[in-house]
Structure formats: structure tokens, C-alpha cells
Symmetry: C2
Subunit: 356 residues, 2 copies
Amino acid sequence: MKKRVAVLAGDGIGKEVTNAAMAVLDAVGRRFQHEFEWVHGLLGGDALDQAGHPIPEETVKKCEESDAILLGAIGGPKWDHYPKELRPEKGLLQLRKHFELSVNLRPVQAYKTLLASSPLKEEVAEGVDLVFVRELTGGLYFGEPSYHNDEEAVDTLHYKREEIERVVRFAFEMAKQRRKKVSSVDKANVLESSRLWREVVEEVAADFPDVEYEHMLVDSTAMKLITSPASFDVIVTENMFGDILSDEASVICGSLGMLPSASLRADGFGLYEPVHGSAPDIAGQNIANPLGAILSGAMMLRTAFGMSKEANAVEAAVRTVLEEGYSTAEFKGIGGTVLSTTELTEKVVDHIENEQ
Amino acid sequence: MKKRVAVLAGDGIGKEVTNAAMAVLDAVGRRFQHEFEWVHGLLGGDALDQAGHPIPEETVKKCEESDAILLGAIGGPKWDHYPKELRPEKGLLQLRKHFELSVNLRPVQAYKTLLASSPLKEEVAEGVDLVFVRELTGGLYFGEPSYHNDEEAVDTLHYKREEIERVVRFAFEMAKQRRKKVSSVDKANVLESSRLWREVVEEVAADFPDVEYEHMLVDSTAMKLITSPASFDVIVTENMFGDILSDEASVICGSLGMLPSASLRADGFGLYEPVHGSAPDIAGQNIANPLGAILSGAMMLRTAFGMSKEANAVEAAVRTVLEEGYSTAEFKGIGGTVLSTTELTEKVVDHIENEQ
Ligand SMILES: CC(C)[C@H](C(=O)O)[C@@H](O)C(=O)O
Ligand SMILES: CC(C)[C@H](C(=O)O)[C@@H](O)C(=O)O
């Protein structure tokens, strides 16, 4: 197959990690006879510097003409003083809104060889295998009115039933393919939007009699993600709660740099990006962990292009490389061999090319 | 001194733990020549059952006529189906609003003997000594409009500058008495209310040149509370972020049942309660950990009544009892002697009465 991918490297280490993902996907192409056309677009602070806007029209157009979007990372202190409308984050938010990327998937998995770098006791983090399904284009992020002046400020948490239903249904579908358990997170003892959320969950759940589900409060969930993370399967929640909880969960296995994500439109079109940020402090040093971007590439293969065996090959290669004791500077101190970004990427590429 | 305290035991284990706190404060009274008058009032599900409302008028009146409020815990599945206006939580929220308890303090401390029960590696949790200063009567909890119907839902995150300033100033004052560091948490890359929050923090900080401060995003904070909790001193944030993050932080030292809290009005009047919930599953079994309520009593002595040496005596007694290896069922499995609620309380009382 031939697929066109818009690559938005963005800021900081974004370029290094998207380069790694492209190298790995090119290897997949060679082994499985696919061709990936990479179309580069500006986004974030880089776009602001070069084109005066965090998401230039041309970038949007390139994404529209592609089969999927691969994103690196955006933002950095350099652009923090820009007005709201020009901040790098605004570019990302506009991209989400423009392409209606309403479902954000963030799997978190414990890798045995990395547990030593987890802040949690190994027996607590062991066996974690959960996925966040976060609503991404509603709630406080986009609700109106939203303003502030000298005296007061307002943001609006707004949800339509159909926005809730879409993401909740996605979560139940996903649970069916997994361990058949959905934890729906809200704050129904305080928020009206959470009460509607609960109603919709009840309704959708009725269509999935074989999936077990529970309602949890966001504050209790913040605790349980630390005390028994392995008890979760699929966690579905609204935009802001999802932002906070999925970031919390991203460090419990000591593997933030490893984590991929996907942001999907109803028809399956999507944006793929590692969970980590732009890390300006280590940018340009060839030491960033490329595995989050590489695994995002694997999610793209499976979800955007229906290439399951190709995705499995990438994930298997990553696992093998870790089991061989290779990692990047992030994991310095837990034993094994610390490689540079490009060296580790080469290891993954080698496994993909040579194991058939 | 003679002080009158409104005791709102509430639901579940609320009665057991407030009994413990009263027993300890009575011991303080005997040793230091104070007299505490306990005035009991109904709150939460218990009030709903007995008086048809989660916070009866009489309870409000009793609180108004007291020098401080001691609360146990409220809520439970039994009352989950009640309409919003009658839910136990509504009683608590109305109490906060009525008495303008706008500043919520939640200290989190690592106790060496309990670190084995922390989900975090001991070297990560060791040395944690932080306090949350959470805004408690604004934001999404009380903003209007707030409604839902079949098709959509709205909640409103509203803040006035003065509401932000009050709690931020409190946090800086508190930091002055501690390690002189404030972490202000917001989501300024998305929310307008967070941008006003940041402006106010900058302004207030100018009055405290000897206090170091930083702005942190709520999602990064959710990570850092796990990866390096000992790096925090005073954390100040708005109502909903504070709810989520302070609960997250409450489990990092493995000592949820130990944690006290205070909710204060500008003039110092306040409500004191353990952080833990009503735990209906263990209610009535005399196994709940009373130390959270007892330490809330200590906060009351210090903050409400200016009785510092009395508060210190309670805290020292609690530390000694823990160092002697005593705890409750919550800590079963980490060694030491498991006592019942009343037995552990007796140990604390003994230390207060006998060590001078
Ligand atoms: C950059 C920021 C606007 C964004 C968000 O809050 O959604 C990020 O934290 C994320 O989770 O992808
Ligand atoms: C019971 C509930 C309304 C309350 C809150 O969300 O404030 C509780 O979680 C707390 O933190 O005291």
C-alpha cells in the first residue's frame, strides 16, 4: 500500500523523535512492501518563528491531503509570552478541533525491564495494562463564554449528549477487544455535566451486556491510579479530567518517554504523537527516547492503515530491544546499555528488517 | 480556656473517628486546663435520614454558636440516588459556602514507620512534607449557570480576582513559616481563569520577595507529585484542581487515614476534618484509623484556639505511638501491632496525660 503521512515535527525534541518514527516506518515499508510518503508541515513554536502562526493554513492543507498525521511535540518557554491566540498549544488545539479529533487514546503499559525506574514499588506497577479514552474536543477546552478581565474570569464546561455518547461508545467497543472493563470517571457529586455523563454511560452500557463498568469519582481515581493501577482496563473520561489523569498515569510505570497516543475522528482519520513534551532542555542532543514516537507509528499502522501485523512487528521489535537491555539516557541508572536516539532507533530498525 | 466545638460526626466511620478526636482533646483539656464543650449536630446522610435534609437549619445554628467545627465524614452509596439538592455532599458544600470557608489546608507528611505501606518506593516518598492550599468556595463547584437536560450540560468555572488573591496570599504567608516555596498550579495554556490566576500570583508574589515561587501546569503537577513529591513545599490551586491533586497526594505516603485538613474563613473560624471518606464498608467495626481525625483536632487547637503547645503535644503523641509500632488494620502487613480504633486512641490519650 501507499500512504501519505503529514509529519508535524514541532518543537524541541519533536524533530528527533519523528525522524526516528519515520525511519522505523520506512523499515516496515521495505519489509512489508508499503510506501510511506512523508509530507512535512510546520506547527507550534517552530511555525510561529517561521510563518508567524502556530498552525499556518498550509499545514492544515497538508494534513487534509494526507492519510494520517504524525506529530512530534510542541511548545517551550521561548513562546510562553505570546498572546493566547498565537501560543504553540493553540496550534495543537486548533488541529484537534479542525479535524474533529474527539477521541484521544493513551495506552499505559508496564515494561518489566523498566520497572526499576518507576516511582512506584515494582509490585504495584507490575502488570499495568490500561488505556485512557479521553474526550478531546469538548468541555472546558472549548466552551463559551471563556474570557478574563482585571476583575473576573470565566471558562465554560459544556457538553452535548452526542459528544459524550461518541467517546463512551468508543470506550465500550475498545473494552470488548480487551479485558471487558470500563471505568467511567466523573465528578457527579458536584458537576451537572458529570450527571449527564453518567446518564449517557448507563444508556450506552445497556448495549454492551458483556462489558463490566463502574462509575468513579475523579478524586478517588487519582488515588487508585497510584494504589492499584493494575486494576484498570479502559478508563473513559471528559477532556480536562483526562488531561490530568492520563498524565498522572503516564509516570506510574517509569516509562513516560515510551508512551504513544492517538487522537481520532469518527471516521478513523487520526493524529499520532508521543505523550511526552518537547523537552527543550535536551533538544538537539540526540539523547531523547524515540520509542514513544515509534510506538505512535505502530498505532498509526494498526488504526489508520489497518496494518496489524506491521504494527505487531514494530511493537515486538521495541519489546525485544528493551529486553536486550537497551534504552536511552532517561533510564540511566537502572542497568543495561544507554544508547543515543539514533542508535536505539537503528536497533529497532534492525529487528524489523531481519526478523521474519 | 473554655471552647465550644460543633461536632458533626456524619456518616460511616465519622462517629468513631470524631469520638476518638474528642477523647484526645478532652485529655488535652485535663493536662492543660482547658474545657471543651461538644455540641453535636446532624450532617450528611445521617441528617437526611433523621431530619430530611443533609444540613438542617439547627446544625447551621449550632455551628454559628461554636468556636470551631469538627467533622467526621459524609456520604455513602445508601444516599447516592437522592436528588442533587438532598445529597450528603450538598450538606458539606453548603456548609463551606455558608461559613465562607474559602481556604482548605491539607498537609501531607511522610511517617517513616508507614513508608512500607506507601505505593511509592520508599526513597521517593521519604521526606515528603507538603501542604495543599486549595480554594474551596469558587470555581466549578459554585459557578452559574450549572444545569443539564437531556441534550446538553453546562458547568461554569468562575473566579473573581479577590477570591484568587485571598487564597494565594494565604499560601505565601504559609510558605514564609515553612520552606519558603510556593508552587502555583493552573492550566494557563488552555483556561482563561488560569491566566487571571497567574496574574494574581505574580502580583501577590511581589509582596513576598523572600518566598520563591513557580507556575506549574496541572497535568505536569499530577506527574511530579508521583515522581518527586518531596520537592514540594506549599502548593496553591483552584477548587477542582485542588480536589484532584490533594487526593492524589494523599496516598503517596501510604497514610490516607492519617491526614488532617482545615477549611478556614478569612477571620480564622474553621472546620476541621480528616481527609478520608466515610468508608461504609468498615463502619461500626471499631477498626477505622482515628489519627486523621485526631490530627485534625491538633490543627484546630493550633489554628482556631492558638493553642500551639497543646497541638504539638497531640502531634508528638501520635508520632510516638507510631514509632512504638502501633497502628490500625489499614496498616496490617507492614509489621507492628494492629489495634482497634479505641485502643489506638487510648494509646494517644495515655501519652498526652503522662508525658509532661
Ligand atoms: C498542550 C496542551 C494544550 C495539551 C492538553 O492539555 O490537552 C496537552 O497537555 C495534552 O494532554 O495533549
Ligand atoms: C465530597 C466532595 C463534594 C468533596 C469535594 O469535592 O470537595 C470532597 O471530595 C473533598 O475534597 O472534600
